[in-house]
Amino acid sequence: MVREGRGNTATEVVAPGAALAGPPGRLAPVRRRPPRWRHGLIGLLLASPPFLLMLLLIVVPTVQAALYSVGQVPADNVVFKADVDLVSSASPTFIVYERLLASTFIQADLLLTLLVTVASVALVLIVSYLLALYVRFGQGRLPAIVRMLYLVPMFIPVVIASYALIEFYVTNGFLQIILERLGIHGYQSPIYSPTGIVLGQLWVNIPFAVLLIGSGLDGVAPELIEAAQDVGASFVSLLWRIVTPLVTVPLLIVGTFTFIGVLGSYTIPYLLGPNAPQMLGVAMTAYNGAYQRPQPAVAMAVMTFILAAFAGAVYVWGTSRTERSAV
């Protein structure tokens, strides 16, 4: 819609390959334009700076991290060579990983990371899906309030959200004060425990998740729901057999992004989580900074990349399956 009506026939062509197919039969207004190959070159040049920056800040560091973690130590990096327990080898070796995985501390960290990540993804998906359904199909004033409410965490930086959650849930904090007043005693604070991390992840991830699932639900016609209700479908079968298949892709996107987001988080597990075991993000930051051990730190980073790649693979598998069944 946007592109229609632009009189320029050269830019009307959508697929890059089609640009070679020659000018359409219509007469274009006479105008001096650069030849098509120059047009393409200028476009490529203009489009490349952000891509080059990504190459420098994403591809180069991750490749270097992977190499360093398998013992390939560049000679010109003083800090790399300063690692107390440096593993340096001409051919790739997995000693750094073997040592990490043999440590009971790291085993506990890894287990906590996986548990918290999976629990957060599940909770974010369930809560956001229900919220998105309510916001999409609910009528009246209450859903309108929720429509504004769920966006609130988007306006709050993560550090501040963590601090607010601490002050609210901490032992002798505001929540406990309220509960005591209501006569409910024996409050156990989730702060500084794995539950605290999951709670924080849920809080910060709700807006994005609801927005995305909601945009998927926009394509689901209310008539479809009504028709199903008319033939007596229960809420569960309605959700499971009619709505969910239509929003599988947004759900997969939210699941994947939340998984990667939680895996790569530092602030929430550092501030809301226990001192030990820690999530990998906290552990690798400590190894990199306080412990002066860049090599295991980088190896832990690569571990999170591999886990994220698994999530990405699930996502690709899921979307391709949905697309095939849709054909």
Partner: protein, 276 residues
């Protein structure tokens, strides 16, 4: 299905919805309300429901503290620089994605998302390792670059959508009356795409202002911004200090995002699906 009788009574259903929405608002808002109370509490001791004494004592304290003042100053130095640098890098690309047909156009456009495919803290640790080699660790440039990572996607995608939305007829009309290409760009295309560019700039400004993890990893010990100093405040200072600082740090986000709210919702999500 006897247990669903409850849900079939309209009044009951409404009551249930009310309770659930109430629980949601408590979950989302009460932590923030707690911070607000702490920020204006001169004294608040358990188990009082409200602070024993309200006042501005800690606000004065924060404004007189040198470290905190420097962090505020530094944050507001980084944010405009990052926004500008991101605009310089991304806006020409956005224009190219919208108006030029070139090889690899679609893959390049989608590849911007690669930023989100990596667990952030792992990426930052890897970047820190590279920075040691390039002597960028704890430098202004190093922090600017790491903060730019999180701005690339929307600084490219939103303006691309904005350029796409400029009607071709207007540019044609300008050319027909004899305006040259550059003139058309400055007088027609750019002004019409401006709202989208401004939204992207606001988001970049806030992304820089709120960025904590990357700056912490590559910017310490000299480049301590507002969010980075929050890590210290949370652990080592009385609650009201962190609370006051939280409000100071949230205010720019709140003001700017509320101002741009309408464009934001429409633009960000739609942007990615427009370019084929």
């Amino acid at each position: 299905m006897s247990y669903t009788w409850f849900l079939r009574v309209g009044a009951m259903r409404q009551a249930l919805a009310l309770v659930l929405v109430g629980a949601l608002s408590c979950f989302l808002l009460l932590p923030l309300f707690t911070l607000l109370l702490w920020a204006f509490a001169n004294q608040w001791q358990y188990p009082a429901v409200l602070p024993q004494q309200f006042g501005f004592h800690w606000w004065q304290w924060v404004f007189q503290n040198n470290d905190l003042g420097n962090a505020i100053k530094l944050s507001f130095e980084f944010a405009p620089v990052v926004t500008l640098a991101s605009a310089v890098v991304c806006l020409p690309a956005a224009y190219a994605f919208s108006r030029f047909r070139f090889p690899l156009r679609r893959p390049l456009f989608v590849s911007m998302l690669a930023v989100n495919a990596f667990p952030k803290i792992g990426l930052y640790i890897s970047i820190a390792a590279l920075y040691y080699r390039l002597n960028l660790i704890d430098t202004f440039l190093g922090v600017v670059l790491i903060q730019m990572i999180n701005t690339l996607v929307f600084m490219t995608w939103i303006p691309t959508a904005a350029f796409n939305a400029v009607p071709g007829e207007l540019e044609e009309a300008a050319r027909d009356v004899g305006a040259r290409s550059l003139m058309v760009f400055w007088k027609v295309t750019l002004p019409l795409a401006m709202p989208g560019i401004v939204v992207a700039a606001i988001l970049a400004f806030l992304a820089s202002l709120d960025e904590a993890q990357g700056t912490l990893v590559v910017g310490t010990p000299t480049h301590i911004t507002m969010p980075v100093i929050m890590y210290v405040l949370v652990a080592n200072y009385p609650q009201p200090v962190g609370a006051v600082f939280s409000i100071l740090l949230s205010l720019p986000s709140l003001i700017l995002l509320l101002a741009a709210r309408r464009y934001l919702m429409a633009g960000y999500l739609a942007a990615g699906f427009r370019v084929r």
